[in-house]
Subunit: 326 residues, 2 copies
């Protein structure tokens, strides 16, 4: 499989390194909106092209991994480039998925291509766990917790506060809430009861720390509905201890069975990820394999992780899977 990468940020670099771990895949090109001469791939011999030349690359790419942002890039890029390629993206604005799906599906079918949108871990693996959980325990409840991990959006919000030089925000599930769900007690949890928000801030010299802390904790949507802690640290400590992009979380399904609903079951799925973009990249490549195979069978249109039978994701044959993994 020949893989192209569009966009060489954290996610694009993650895809580049993950391709090395999949022997049936080859990175053929990196495509950028920047000046191609400014991009230095980590992979020897890989060519970098301008997005202006993308139409010329049709024979070089079986699946194009589109590594743009969900706010403005992907709603344009995925429908645009599915004209020329099979594509996969990590569109993660949950509320806008139906619109994005419809846009991509129409153009994919018109051009006999296949696309998979919203790949990664949430949406992605977590979505799968919500679906499997509700299908196998129809009378029950699901719970999704995120963290401990870095929220890019909340970190950006901190950095926009007056007097803040740098900042990072960790989303952390509340331990008591996890324990209550795990015990099968089906708790009703408010936003504040599910997650806490911990902020590490490097202040500008002479800044009013009390004012910064107040501005963060009262920020609507981002922090006001949560118990938020703010730690002021030095730039050295920030760089030494907060450079990574870890993340993770939990999906639970709890439910009952039995003629009198007397038996309780708890399904728990969790991720502890040292690198959010690298894990997302790894999931994307498994699904790139899946849609490539489906396209070989003649399937076109837009898909999600819900539409791909698990066997399509593995490099192993169906016989090997049944013999060794079932």
């Amino acid at each position: 499989m020949k893989i192209g990468i569009l966009g060489y940020g954290n996610l694009g670099k993650g895809v580049e390194s993950a391709i090395r771990q999949n022997k049936d895949m080859e990175l053929t090109c990196i495509i950028t909106r920047r000046d191609p001469s400014q991009i230095k791939p980590l992979t020897d011999g890989v060519k970098v092209y301008s997005v202006a030349d993308i139409e010329k690359l049709k024979d070089m790419i079986d699946v194009l991994v589109i590594c743009g942002g969900s706010a403005t890039d992907l709603p344009k890029q995925t429908p645009e480039f599915v004209k020329y390629f099979n594509v996969i993206d990590s569109f993660d604005t949950h509320a806008k998925i139906p619109d994005h799906f419809a846009n991509v599906d129409k153009i994919a079918k018109e051009n006999n291509h296949i696309a998979l949108i919203s790949c990664g871990w949430d949406p992605g693996m977590f979505s799968l766990m919500r679906l499997y959980g509700s299908a196998v325990l129809p009378e029950g409840q699901d719970y999704t917790f995120w963290g401990k991990g870095v929220s890019q959006g909340h970190s950006d919000a901190i950095r926009r506060v007056k007097g803040v030089k740098n900042g990072k925000q960790y989303t952390i599930p509340v331990q008591e809430a996890l324990d209550a769900v795990r015990a099968g007690t089906n708790p009703q949890l408010t936003t504040r009861q599910k997650h806490i928000r911990e902020c590490f801030v490097v202040a500008e010299e002479g800044a009013d720390l009390n004012q910064i802390e107040h501005d963060i904790k009262t920020m609507p949507n981002y922090f006001a509905d949560y118990d938020t802690t703010v730690h002021f640290i030095s730039e050295e400590e920030f760089n030494a201890n907060h450079a990574g992009i870890p993340h993770g979380g939990f999906v639970f399904r709890t439910g009952v069975t039995g003629i009198n609903k007397e038996n309780t079951h708890v399904i728990e799925y969790s991720l502890k990820l040292d690198s959010n973009p690298e894990f997302t990249s790894s999931v994307i490549l498994a699904y790139a394999r899946g849609i490539y195979r489906l396209h070989e069978e003649g399937v076109t249109g837009c898909k999600t992780v819900f539409d791909i039978a698990p066997a399509y994701l593995s490099p192993l044959s169906n016989e090997e899977l049944r013999a060794h993994m079932l």
Copy 2:
């Protein structure tokens, strides 16, 4: 969907009660090798038939759930009855799955039916987690732990020991092993390091307790390779505290990503089940829905959980799934 149940033991009863939790399903008949008049279904109005009359029931059943044992029942029943019906079973002798698959596949295709074998949680949901884990983290290791839960096979083995009146065996994962895997240290674990076996025994009056304990602990295959504890208890205590059939377990995938493989990720899936057969039944019904839909699309032959796209398992439409679960 019209569901038939073949075999009215723990699993068959679990399927019967689970059908009530799935609004798109209806239990149309129970089929038994016993005298049908001896079976008293919990569901009003459900007819019970002898297995000798099974061919006459073709119009009453969209999917037949075969609730036999893996040792001798299913290898005969599933290939036999897929002649007449779409069928699903919980065949769990891992080593013999390829043979069973081939037998069922051939006859299913000859008769334009669909079958799904080895459904439940292991094989079943745990198999899915092994597949997904290895596909999204290709450089890594997986671990499966079972328990805490009742092993039917080991409990049977205890009851065959001289002087034992009743017995139950719990398989328990070793906490240190779970912790080491969870920490991402990729431990190499022996059989003894992964699980302990805890036995509760009601002895016959006057039996030699030391001899019973010795006979259990040294039993090859079942106990000799494990740290085993034996507790002698009264029949009253046995009935009060050891009547249930709980089970569960853990599937882990740990792996690395990054250009220098510098980042570690841990995926953990766990089940805590009050009733092993009822949870198995619930999984079976979700897959019964899946193969019924695939058969409506014209698909025939033998399938496993690896072959079914997740969306087929849910009563929700694809649009609803994308809007609410992705």
